[in-house]
């Protein structure tokens, strides 16, 4: 069985991103930077109705706009529209202006339907408009039961009930979804902004009925995906169709407006939780009813990767007596998709809020309450490390006891990501030149997490070279197949693969050069003996070098202005593990990003829809609020390195507990629970009883 070296020079140390200079100088080419010969802009016409039957679409006037080279429709007619923003047609033209003008003159014959519903609670009612004809919007509840809840509650010393809700969170990676795509007689090349070049290749080939070998997907650089960008997407297929018609490459990158409507989101959750513990603080009974919407994805269509509305309950805690009922509600809105740790941030927020509420009722320190009920030994260790670092015992005060108008509070919460692991079919190759140059090729993609650098670090360690001596090429379906970058699996997939490629390379070099050890100072001598031809070696993922299930806990300190409701996060401490740390600096960066995203979920982000018109009211960064630099606190990351476990990914767990920790810190500060995300000044003031009741005149 393979094993990682114990004495390391690069692994578990910090190597700055090897592609940082390219990114900083603008040399790095993202999908929208591709300047393929004769390229055109592509743009999409979306439904301005939340519900309609499109009878026909006339593209003639659009085609007559000067500069327009192609116009296509998305579907055959009649097309049923189920949400505001659903794609209807697309155009390609020489300028953005031409495309915008063309979209405005497309003629649509439609039967507009006034029956639609965008609100979860309305959609659950018996007389609600149906998103999918003939099907109730709410699915039949799925019930999981163990033990005996009904007899367990009376045995509890303390019981709390709460209604914890989370909004729909939109996918707003810095780089929007889209591609530059060229479809000629020779085949199709798509420079796509994707987390999965292979899945996009397969998706395009399937949708366009092309031989897989005729489709090449390239993702040199990429500005974030978070679960939204595994498939070709409607926009990817449209770019291809436009390219074919225009006989030119088409750059179809979504606008920020587009991005808010139709590329997936995190489902909402409405969690009614009843939970009880015995007098010694042992969780004893848990009953929950949860519903949430995955948009139209809660009905018949889960296009783009699904993302159901169910969440793990009672999350990472073991309760002997539980009854959990969950159902999904369809509304006339864009479908959900996988979103960084699907199901987990809402589950963590609900359960961790309930944990604190119950701890307060029991008169226990919430951290002690967790230590008592969290069965995971790694988190036990992390809580203890974090508590010491955070000075928990010193800082913890009874809820609401902070004096004055500006109240401070602290809270904590935990993450679980039992999934993860590795994609065992990952392959890679290296080409070693007689001059000592070495190039790795993996059909993985670097979505901004530092995948290139991880490859260089592992290779440098194994070969006794420096990371800057390693050339890394990723993001091309012509390379050996790699994993999709999702589920916190990338690092655990590629690190063992690179390990294997290096092992094969050293073995071959030894054979061909006659040198006992080709590493380090012998490298160039060994390579020189290759003669004229480069050595190409192939490797694949090997067992024993990676694992799954990262944990992690986070602590938050906040200050709340009890007169204005403004929450200021003062500090977040994250204590995380992910097995063997490969590169500390990019790992910390990823955790920082997870925490900031979690802050957005806690305090700012929410898709707002209008009941009457069915539109998304905040399809922009003006009113879909994201954390800015002025909002971001001091973030401290403490890592536990566990080489014995092998490599584990970190993407998901780093964002899971942040909202729960912040919500608990807020409750601790003000002595009242804001049980609904995002925690806005309006909700703080309401929780404090300062908002006069609304009287409907």
């Amino acid at each position: 069985m393979s094993s990682w070296p114990t004495e390391t020079k690069y692994i578990s140390h910090s190597t700055p991103r090897i592609d940082a200079p390219a990114k900083l100088t603008g040399k790095a080419r993202y999908s929208s930077d591709i300047q393929a010969d004769g390229w055109l802009y592509g743009m999409i016409l979306r439904s301005k109705w939340p519900s309609a039957k499109i009878l026909s679409v006339n593209l003639e006037k659009a085609r007559q706009i000067p500069g327009i080279k192609a116009a296509v429709t998305v579907k055959d007619f009649p097309q049923t529209i189920r949400y505001y923003g659903e794609e209807i047609a697309a155009v390609a033209g020489a300028t953005k202006a031409a495309c915008l003008d063309a979209l405005r003159v497309i003629e649509i014959k439609a039967e507009v339907r006034h029956e639609f519903v965008v609100n979860e609670d309305e959609a659950r009612k018996d007389n609600s408009a149906q998103v999918w004809d003939g099907t109730t919007n709410a699915s039949a509840p799925r019930v999981h039961e163990q033990g005996s809840v009904d007899t367990a509650f009376p045995e509890c010393a303390a019981v709390i009930e709460g209604f914890y809700t989370t909004p729909v969170q939109l996918h707003h990676a810095m780089e929007t979804s889209g591609s530059t795509t060229s479809w000629t007689d020779e085949g199709l090349t798509s420079w796509a902004s994707t987390q999965g070049i292979s899945s996009v290749r397969d998706g395009l080939a399937g949708a366009l009925q092309l031989d897989h070998s005729k489709v090449r997907v390239i993702t040199e650089y990429m500005g974030g995906g978070f679960g939204a960008k595994f498939g070709a997407g409607v926009e990817g297929v449209l770019a291809a169709k436009l390219s074919k018609e225009a006989k030119a490459p088409v750059r179809l990158m979504l606008t920020r407006f587009d991005q808010a409507l139709a590329v997936g989101n995190r489902p909402s959750s409405f969690q009614k939780i009843k939970m009880g513990a015995t007098a010694d603080g042992t969780l004893h009974a848990f009953e929950a009813e949860n519903y949430g919407t995955a948009g139209i994805g809660a009905g018949g269509d889960a296009g783009g990767g699904g993302g159901g509305a169910d969440i793990p309950m009672p999350y990472l805690y073991k309760v002997p007596n539980t009854r959990v009922k969950q159902s999904m509600v369809a509304v006339n809105a864009g479908s959900a998709r996988a979103f960084r740790a699907p199901g987990n941030p809402p589950a963590s927020f609900g359960m961790e809020s309930a944990m604190d509420d119950l701890a307060v009722k029991l008169g226990m320190d919430p951290l002690e309450f967790r230590l008592k009920n969290d069965p995971n030994p790694i988190r036990q260790r992390e809580y203890k490390m974090g508590a010491e670092k955070f000075d928990w015992k010193q800082k913890y005060q009874k809820p609401g006891s902070s004096p004055g108008v500006l109240k401070t509070g602290i809270g904590c919460a935990a993450a679980a990501w039992p999934a993860g692991g590795a994609s065992k079919s990952t392959q890679g190759e290296a080409r070693i030149n007689p001059d000592g140059g070495i190039e790795f090729r993996l059909g993985v993609q670097d979505i901004g997490t530092g995948t290139r650098t991880v490859i260089a670090v592992v290779a440098a360690e194994m070969l006794g070279l420096k990371p800057e001596q390693i050339t890394v090429r990723v993001g091309d379906t012509n390379f050996p197949p790699g994993p999709g970058s999702g589920g916190s699996t990338t690092c655990a997939s590629i690190s063992p693969t690179v390990y294997d490629v290096c092992t094969q390379a050293l073995r071959q070099l030894q054979t061909q050069s006659g040198l006992a050890d080709a590493r380090g100072e012998n490298w160039f001598a060994a390579c020189k003996k290759l003669g004229v031809n480069p050595l190409v070696v192939h490797g694949q993922w090997q067992p024993g070098l990676s694992d799954s299930h990262a944990c992690g806990v986070q602590f938050a300190e906040v200050e709340v202005d009890t007169e204005t409701g403004l929450v200021t996060v003062k500090k977040i401490l994250g204590v995380h593990d992910c097995g063997l740390i490969i590169n500390k600096i990019t790992l910390e960066s990823q955790i920082n990003g997870g925490i900031i995203m979690g802050m957005g979920y806690a305090l700012y982000e929410e898709r707002v829809m209008d009941d009457l018109s069915g539109v998304v009211l905040n399809p922009n960064f003006e009113t879909y609020k994201l954390p800015g630099i002025a909002d971001v606190p001091e973030i401290e990351v403490v890592l536990i390195n566990m080489p014995e476990r092998g490599v584990i990914g970190i993407g998901e767990p780093s964002t899971v507990p942040t909202a729960g920790a912040i919500a608990n810190a807020v409750a601790n500060a003000i002595g009242a629970r804001v049980s609904s995300l995002p925690i806005t000044p309006a909700k703080i003031l309401a929780a404090l009883g300062k908002v006069p009741p609304f009287v409907n005149a």
Partner: protein
């Protein structure tokens, strides 16, 4: 965006001539270009670049009043060392506007004349009252950012931070209207928005704000706003206060609020109440009660009442300063 002609004016007369009919003045363009791109207003046939108009980009000191040209940028105000001393509230208001990049190009005239930020008005596919539709969607819809006061059915609030502080400072806008300089108080500059849902201020097409005169009679001023976020976010409520303080007593105090009414919200009775008072927590609280007593909160914006109350008290108490 619809095609338009473009011309640069070098005098106010030529600007007025060029814009006549359905033209629009272009200065910083932050608001105008967004409106045009989203087809939210009747498209002007011509955009008249006024950035080269002489004399309008100056801040001029004076004993009785200061003059701020309409082409002065928000950043110029923010970075003006003397303004920070003489009109601290103006400095504070300017520094809260949008982001540094926007402040660098946004002008005083543009900030005052900016259109509604109501998300129904700004939405490309809703036709609300403000866009000649027959319904205010916000009234029974998502109104968390909307007004507590209005004189008509539309509840889109004024969001100009500068209007709020200028109101409290008793500033006057000098507007070129049909060739004549017309003096308008801030109340007059916005009054039409109070009664007419189609208006966001009292300017007619072709009117051009030339400058703002700020009397120096109020030596103390302060501005505070609270947003959902800590920077680059619209105020949920903003509040400005200004007064002279003599022998510990307020003289000519004025309080104004933004984001809770289509006009900068002020209550004369509250100003009168404060006049001659020693400013303490009780006086500030009573003034806040008076200013908000007729508020008509809707389903999602009632939180603005306690928030505004807190801001009024805090802004007023800032006037006591260290002196």
């Amino acid at each position: 965006m619809k095609a338009f002609r473009y011309a640069t004016a070098h005098s106010t007369d030529s600007a007025r001539e060029l814009v006549a009919g359905t033209g629009a003045y272009l200065a910083g363009g932050n608001d105008l270009l967004g409106l045009l791109k989203d087809y939210l207003i009747n498209a002007p046939e011509i955009l008249v670049n006024i950035k080269s108009l002489p004399g309008l980009n100056k801040i001029e000191r004076g004993d009785k009043f200061w003059t701020v040209g309409s082409l002065v940028t928000v950043a110029q105000i923010e970075n003006h060392a003397e303004i920070k001393m003489v009109f601290p509230g103006l400095h504070e208001a300017a520094s809260e506007v949008a982001s540094q990049q926007i402040r660098n190009v946004a002008t005083v005239g543009g900030n005052l004349a900016q259109h509604s930020r109501c998300w129904y008005f700004r939405h490309r596919d809703t036709v609300c009252l403000k866009k000649t539709g027959d319904l205010c969607y916000a009234r029974n819809g998502e109104n968390r950012y909307h007004s507590l006061f209005t004189g008509n059915t539309c509840i889109s609030p004024v969001v100009s931070s500068l209007a709020t502080i200028f109101t409290s400072l008793g500033a006057t806008a000098i507007v070129l209207r049909e060739g004549k300089e017309t003096r308008m108080s801030m109340a007059e500059l916005y009054h039409r928005a109070w009664e007419n849902p189609l208006a966001h201020n009292s300017l007619n097409n072709g009117d051009l704000i030339l400058r703002v005169e700020i009397p120096t009679t109020r030596g103390r001023s302060a501005y505070l706003q609270v947003s959902d976020k800590h920077a680059f976010d619209w105020a949920l409520v903003s509040c400005a206060a200004a007064a002279e303080v003599r022998d510990g007593k307020l003289k000519s105090p004025r309080v104004a609020l933004g984001s809770i009414s289509p006009v900068p919200h002020q209550v004369e009775a509250a100003n009168d109440f404060l006049d001659g008072k020693v400013l303490d927590d009780a006086a500030a609280t009573h003034a806040a009660d008076m200013i908000l007593q007729d508020a008509q909160p809707l389903k999602h914006n009632a939180y603005k009442v306690p928030l505004a109350h807190a801001l009024i008290r805090r802004t007023l108490l800032k006037l006591n300063g260290d002196a």
